[in-house]
Point group: C2
Chain length 289, copies 2
């Protein structure tokens, strides 16, 4: 094992799509020595070893982090604080903890007060994912070309931050740094709100009881793509809705205002306003392509 | 030219994705003799000849329908009645008119009263499409495996209906017959409502003015797929919102009820209800895959 590795020993807490893909990307980049996986499901951990994602595994969090230089928290967002609490006594001085949670402020509020000065925490969120989960879904290219947002605080160690930034760059990410509250509001807008909308849409359409058959069966490509995200993991989304409550409510209210405006235009049969509403949306949307 | 062709001479009014793809599918199936294209844009019509979609073209609707056995209306839904009015004097006795409009009741109300008994109208709607448009986007396989809804009325000639059913089957479609009001409500649910939701979502997120940068740039795969339909043609959607007003308003209200329920659960931080809401949606959505 070379002395020039960015990370000598790394513990992945939660070897699913997010954790597994980071391990694979860092191995491909030659940036990591040994990778220890930790999780609850033994078949998933065995599969991860078989696929070369991790070198070995343990189901004991303290055993996993012992002597780890870097600890990547990739369990569901509501559990991140508890995972740190559980393994903290075994974490060595100088170790860096980072995470992949979709919500940042609540995670930081939970984890930062737990840590002594010699253990560093760099809050992060790689914006990447598929609807797949588990180690089998992991692949080295998941983060390539995708943004990874880091949300350092006043307490964040600059050297630890620099290392985590370099780690994500080696995994192929474009690293962006911003305050955690800004992160949570942006994610509420571009990710959490769309999920709430998709879930509501599928419930509204699926509950439409005018006809005996399931009208969802008539849906063509557009609707299926549109509602793909409504088949995401309910536990994960419950946790996000609970941990990013305020920013999400703000965006849900923003959405309601626009939807009500459109409904009024439809009710009034106002063709000019309808056209203008649709065109504005098309232009905004096309601008990001 | 064989006497056994299903359609000897066919006029396509509007040679875009919908009209062009039907022409290509019927040619591939050996079901049509000559195809005459009619439209306003000369470059598009010339391209359609070059691509073998149509055999010849004219920009005069009456010339296009003269001697046609079948007339396929594939212009925007609000123009369909006007196209029939315009070319009616040149349509021969025994000819069949059919259409591909996304809304049926208003189209039927406009066209049926115009026609003498010897000219037949079979209202239809192939549920297929992409975000592309124009003759260049047309391809023979567009309708393969997709549903085509026909909405015969008390006035619809059974033989004409049977021929149109056969035509869509030859193009690869699964033909479903239902009353026009049912069609309009189902489409409001599975297509028109999702578009209204997507347009509102992109407007709401794109107008979020807390930050200097365009936050849409942070969106990952999910949001882009989700809002793909928000880049559909504003004119087409203005027309649909105007012509299917009542069914669409009913579905928009249905959606608002579910969205408000979810917002209340988020505000209350009610994890059990959130989980149940997301799970219900996931189950409905997964059931159609």
């Amino acid at each position: 094992m070379s002395d020039h590795l960015l990370i000598k020993r790394m513990a992945i807490m939660g070897v699913g799509l997010i954790g597994g893909s980071l391990a694979l990307a860092l191995k491909e980049a030659g940036a990591v020595g040994e990778v220890i996986g930790c999780g609850r499901g033994k078949p998933n951990l065995e599969k991860a070893v078989e696929l070369g994602i991790i070198d070995r595994y343990t189901r004991d969090p303290r055993e996993a982090v012992a002597d780890a230089d870097l600890i990547f928290l990739a369990t569901p967002v509501k559990t991140l604080g508890a995972v740190v609490e559980q393994c903290l006594p075994a974490i060595k001085a100088g170790a860096i903890i980072t995470d992949g949670g979709s919500v940042k402020a609540e995670v930081v509020r939970h984890i930062e007060p737990l840590l002594p000065d010699v253990i560093h925490f760099v809050p992060g969120h790689p914006i990447a994912g598929t609807e797949q989960s588990g180690a089998e879904a992991a692949f080295a290219g998941l983060y390539r070309g995708k943004r990874c947002i880091l949300t350092p605080t006043a307490k964040t160690d600059p050297q630890a931050l620099a290392l985590i930034e370099q780690m994500w760059q080696l995994a192929g990410s474009i690293v962006v740094k911003m305050p955690m509250d800004k992160h949570d509001r942006i994610l509420a807008a571009i990710s959490h709100l769309p999920h709430m909308v998709a879930y509501s849409l599928v419930n509204a359409v699926g509950s439409y009881d005018h006809y005996e058959e399931n009208i969802l069966e008539y849906s063509a490509g557009g609707f299926r793509d549109f509602t793909r995200i409504a088949s995401s993991d309910p536990t994960m989304w419950r946790d996000i809705a609970e941990t990013n409550r305020e920013a999400l409510l703000e965006m849900m209210e923003q959405f309601e205002v626009f939807f009500a405006e459109l409904k009024a235009d439809v009710a009034a049969g106002d063709g000019d306003k309808l056209f203008e509403f649709f065109l504005r949306s098309k232009q905004m949307r096309d601008a990001i392509l």
